[in-house]
């Protein structure tokens, strides 16, 4: 078997193992910790009988292993259980919200990724001159603010003062036409872009600079190629793997940023659903959302590894 296939198989099975362990961790995290779900739902004034009934209905009296297996088989069959607070089927309520979240994250990625790679290249080209310094300064500023504050700053200045974009996404409808939907998510997308852009740019710059120190780059420079050509023809192809890694890491980070940004802009996505139900202490919903977020995160990291294995010239042409 070629080394690539072996490596890929290893990496994918590792990802699946990780997902399995994470599901245990999330499950254990919500049951072994001293908080009592039944008590949280009914409040301090609940009678002992009511508590006992609720515990029985929720299956809290079963041994943890049985409950985990029930839960995990349910999840594998697409059954995420029912929400404690509303009694609705979780998978059903999650479906459309998950699509909304993907829509938001997709557009943020479409804008942020090419922009970040381009600006990273620019920073390398004009290294230590003003474009590079400007980019570093913006990076420092944007990692010094939490996502939600960047959100409110944009909302205040672009949405309310200048009236360029709708200031909340509350009017978002999944069945509206694409342009209406895009207009509604303009500001959330801008925030997410800003949040990941800085980090991605900085890491792209570092990855290319790293490659730029190789001997073949010096050769290319000595034979008289222009700086941009050296970067484009020689440095860039060799930094694809590290850049892909950077991009995937940041897309994974986007998954988390989405949670906060959705709350800021009142966007009907999964993040808001999760936060709402954490404050209501609705454990099944939290478990389901946590698992999905973790799965996406692990999936993206796994994809990053797979792509960098595929993009590595040394592995593609085994000696």
């Amino acid at each position: 078997m070629s080394p690539i296939v072996t490596l890929l198989a290893q990496r994918i099975s590792l990802g699946l193992l990780l997902l399995f362990l994470v599901s245990i961790l999330i499950f254990v995290g919500t049951i072994i910790l001293p908080g009592d779900v039944a008590q949280s739902i009914l409040g301090q004034s609940a009678t002992p009988e009511a508590l006992a009934n609720l515990r029985r209905d929720l299956g809290l009296n079963d041994p943890p292993l049985t409950r985990y297996i029930d839960w995990a088989t349910g999840v594998l069959h697409g059954d995420l259980g029912t929400a404690l607070t509303s009694g609705q089927d979780i998978a059903e309520s999650l479906g459309s919200r998950f699509r909304n979240t993907l829509f938001l994250a997709f557009w943020a990625a479409i804008i942020a990724v090419p922009l970040a790679v381009f600006l990273g290249l620019l920073a390398v080209r004009y290294r230590d001159r003003w474009p590079d310094k400007l980019i570093s300064a913006v990076t420092l500023a944007s990692i010094s603010l939490p996502e939600f504050l960047i959100g409110y700053l944009l909302m205040f200045f672009l949405g309310v003062k200048l009236r360029l974009f709708p200031s909340t996404a509350i009017g978002y409808r999944a069945d509206a036409d694409v342009f209406t939907r895009l207009e509604a998510i303009a500001l959330p997308v801008a925030v997410l872009t800003l949040v990941v852009l800085a980090h991605m740019m900085r890491m792209t710059r570092a990855a290319i600079l790293n490659v730029m120190q190789s001997a073949y780059i010096e050769t290319a420079e000595l034979k008289g190629l222009t700086t941009f050509r050296v970067i484009w023809k020689h440095a860039f192809p060799n930094s694809i793997a590290p850049i892909v890694n950077v991009v995937m890491l940041n897309l994974a980070y986007l998954v988390v940023g989405v949670v906060v940004v959705e709350v800021v802009f009142v966007y009907p996505g999964m993040g808001q659903y999760l936060v709402d139900h954490v404050s209501k202490r609705d454990v099944p919903v939290v478990q389901a959302c946590g698992l999905i977020f973790a799965a996406v995160y692990i999936g993206l990291n796994m994809l990053a590894d797979v792509i960098s294995i595929l993009a590595n010239p040394r592995l593609r042409h085994p000696k």
């Binding site: 999330i26 504050l149 980090h199 404050s279």
Partner: protein, 270 residues
């Protein structure tokens, strides 16, 4: 020793923030939860930053809020560093299966986004200040663990550590007397970055309503309370942005300076 101007500014501003945090009750013009005026009054001589959504003085809220935020972030950073560094050093010195076990467990913890894991845990735990510090500190110690372990692995093969092992010193001596002093500078620089991350983290949790609970003031909470004003063009919710950004940039400047003076090791964000 000459301190560069940027680091000096950072140092002075950081000190200011900590002084204000410590002496908040003396500096704030009004009480933390005292309703003193109308809703969202503009800034005036009486209320320098105006009033908030239920008529409390915003300047006082900001000062007390800074105290809460900085206190929680500091405590969580200390917890994260003690746990992370001790475990990381031990893993590096012990090697073998304890190292493998710890490292793989940390990998597992880090494969879940920190915020998501914090939300999962806080959905069953009482949301109190000690609990926040505990959750934030322990979740973040994974990153410190990685850095501490990486640094300690390098130091562990140095001659003087070998010498100490040959003289028969115990693990405690090797960790605290040989490795710790030599690993201190990259860790101190990292501490600045972790502290900023903690400030952002606790603000985010409070903003989501799962951090510091009202009427206690904190920067994230102030944003949450006054967010409704934004759509009417009232910028009360934006003051914490200024506070958090200046604090974060100042600490960053100091951390960068320490880092540049010592080593090129650096940990990640998020």
């Amino acid at each position: 020793m000459r301190i560069p101007i940027a680091a000096l500014i950072g140092l002075i501003l950081t000190t200011c923030y900590f002084v204000v945090a410590i002496f908040a009750p003396l500096l704030a013009p009004y009480g933390m939860a005292e309703v003193v005026g109308g809703v969202w009054e503009p800034s005036s001589e009486q209320f320098l930053l105006g009033t908030d959504n239920i008529g409390r003085d915003l300047l006082s809220r900001m000062i007390y809020g800074g105290r809460t935020t900085i206190f929680i972030a500091t405590a969580a950073t200390i917890l994260s560093f003690t746990t992370g560094a001790v475990l990381g050093f031990s893993a590096a010195v012990l090697g073998g299966w304890p190292d493998q076990l710890l490292s793989r467990f940390i990998d597992l913890l880090m494969s879940i986004p920190t915020l998501i894991f914090a939300l999962v845990v806080l959905s069953v735990m009482p949301v109190t200040v000690p609990m926040l510090i505990l959750v934030m500190g322990l979740l973040d110690s994974t990153r410190v663990f990685r850095l501490a372990r990486a640094v300690a692995v390098d130091i562990n093969v140095m001659d003087y550590v070998e010498a100490a092992k040959l003289r028969g010193e115990g693990y405690r001596w090797i960790i605290f007397r040989e490795i710790l002093p030599n690993a201190l500078s990259p860790l101190v620089a990292e501490m600045g970055l972790r502290f900023i991350f903690m400030v952002l983290f606790v603000s985010t949790l409070s903003f989501l309503g799962l951090g510091v609970q009202p009427p206690q003031a904190d920067w994230g909470g102030i944003v949450k309370e006054n967010a409704d004003g934004i759509v009417y063009g009232i910028g009360a919710a934006l003051y914490p942005a200024v506070a958090i950004a200046t604090l974060a940039i100042s600490v960053n400047l100091v951390a960068d300076w320490i880092l540049n003076r010592t080593t090129s090791l650096k940990g990640g964000r998020g």
